[in-house]
């Protein structure tokens, strides 16, 4: 683990009693003394603080907002040009085969585009953006900034107590705040299905900000373990598990994130890598899977149409116990003829077929502030 990079909050994690594990090249807290289940429930009932500084933060700047947005649209199937000032969207880089190279958040801050990408993909993402967009667009990795998420029903009060403007933000707004004298960029978004914020802060001030946030009512530190069960219950994809270079946005059930203007027939249709295949009607798709028993169906479990069928119709890509659901939850890919909610299927766990039902996502309704 000595080779792993450390975020600006590393010492704080250790001080708080975190169990540190290697994750995407970083030493990250997988859990604190509260434990995964306790941390999960605390986030849903109060507020959790997550260190997500391992993620890549990148700004794209150019001659004008239009120039930057137009350039970025050559890499993603999202409507970038139509993004309003101070607004954020979910998106993904596609490849020539229509697969997903990474998923990301992008936000308009003035004439700049702020892009947040996954830790494991960030070097490739930055290289891709540089190769495709420079020199007209300048790609700057903000490796001098940390990223801290505060999630849960208590998140608004925690931030608004430090800067009242936090309460005025809506889901997917991004704005400058001053939290206890520290200038930050905050977006109202997250990866838990709860209301909350993601806060970009200069690295030297990250620990002071984290301590201030943890001193607010109900805010507790949360590790990667609970982050994973929270996002799974919220039906959100983990890149590398639920979507990857071999899954298209259509297969990933992510067409909601492809705005009309970029779809076939739209004013700016196509023009991104793999446009011919990325959005095509799929033969398989990502669905929620609700095992009927108590046994979790984890990544890789094969899914069958019957108890005796020899060929699987799909497989699990993420599966665990959902503390809020109170039972096992999973997601995975099944052929489209078995993808309707309510379809009864079978998952093979330790050589035994167990009943599992296709279920609508999310498992736990989102509580965003629209």
């Amino acid at each position: 683990m000595s080779d792993d990079l450390r975020t600006p909050l590393y010492d704080l994690h250790v001080e708080l009693g975190a169990k540190m594990v290697p994750f995407a090249g970083y030493a990250m807290p997988v859990q604190y003394p509260m434990g995964v289940m306790g941390e999960h429930n605390h986030t849903r009932s109060a507020a959790g603080l997550f260190d997500v500084s391992h993620m890549g933060q990148v700004t794209l700047s150019g001659a004008s907002w239009g120039a930057v947005a137009q350039a970025f649209e050559t890499l993603v199937p999202q409507d970038v040009l139509g993004l309003g000032e101070g607004r954020q969207r979910y998106g993904f880089f596609t490849n020539d085969a229509g697969g997903i190279e990474d998923d990301l958040m992008f936000a308009r801050r003035g004439d700049d585009l702020l892009v947040v990408v996954n830790a494991a993909c960030k070097d490739a993402d930055i290289a891709r953006m540089r190769a495709a967009l420079e020199p007209a667009v300048t790609v700057t990795e903000l490796d001098d900034r940390a990223l801290i998420a505060v999630q849960g029903p208590g998140a608004e009060a925690a931030l608004a107590g430090l800067d009242a403007r936090a309460a005025d933000m809506r889901f997917m707004d991004i704005t400058d705040l001053e939290l206890d004298g520290i200038a930050v960029w905050a977006s109202r978004s997250g990866y838990t299905g709860e209301d909350g914020y993601e806060i970009s802060v200069p690295a030297p001030q990250a620990e002071a900000l984290a301590r201030t946030l943890l001193a607010q009512d109900g805010v507790a530190p949360i590790g990667l373990g609970a982050r994973d069960s929270l996002r799974l219950e919220a039906g959100l994809c983990l890149y590398g598990n639920d979507i990857d270079t071999t899954t298209t946005p259509a297969e990933g059930t992510l067409m909601w994130a492809v705005q009309k203007v970029r779809r076939p027939g739209g004013a700016r249709a196509g023009g991104f890598p793999g446009a011919d295949t990325a959005l095509a009607a799929p033969a398989r798709k990502r669905v929620g899977l609700l095992p009927e028993g108590r046994a979790p169906m984890r990544t890789g479990v094969a899914i069958y149409a019957s108890e005796t069928a020899t060929d699987p119709v799909g497989h699990v890509t993420s599966g665990s116990f959902g503390p809020t659901v109170g039972g096992p939850v999973a997601m995975g890919y099944v052929s489209v003829d078995h993808a309707d909610a309510g379809t009864a299927l079978w998952g093979e766990v330790r050589g035994k077929r167990m009943p599992v039902q296709v279920a609508a996502l999310p498992f736990v309704p989102a509580s965003f502030k629209r």
Partner: protein, 119 residues
């Protein structure tokens, strides 16, 4: 009580051997959410996988510590797997065994030796 390097404990109860996992093992596993017990009457050999235990993190197997026969299982764990975290060395035993070869017990550790082993 005797302890194994697989982080199990065995308690002799009138010639029947009660088997569970240690406090240390329960802490390492994290919150237990699923327990699958063997059938009563199953004849097992040392190191056979007899119990499946899943925590929020991962699945693990509990191995038979010695040769013998499963004569009772703790059904309450199936509906209340969290007991494994609450009282691993007490109420949350997994199964009772009739052991075939008592000499297999000789290699197991005392509590003090086990504490040293995990230190």
């Amino acid at each position: 009580m005797k302890f194994t390097e697989e982080h199990e404990w065995l308690r002799d109860e009138d010639g029947e051997m009660v088997v569970g996992i240690t406090i240390h093992a329960a802490e390492q596993l994290g919150d237990v959410v699923f327990v699958e017990l063997p059938e009563v009457g199953t004849v097992v050999s040392k190191d056979d996988e007899v119990v499946v235990i899943e925590s929020v993190k991962a699945a693990s197997d509990i191995l038979a510590p010695v040769d013998g026969e499963i004569i009772e299982v703790n059904e309450t764990l199936v509906d209340n797997p969290g007991m494994v975290n609450d009282d691993p060395q007490g109420e949350a035993w997994f199964f009772k065994m009739k052991i075939s070869d008592p000499s297999q017990m000789d290699e197991f550790m005392s509590e003090a030796a086990y504490q040293k082993f995990i230190a």
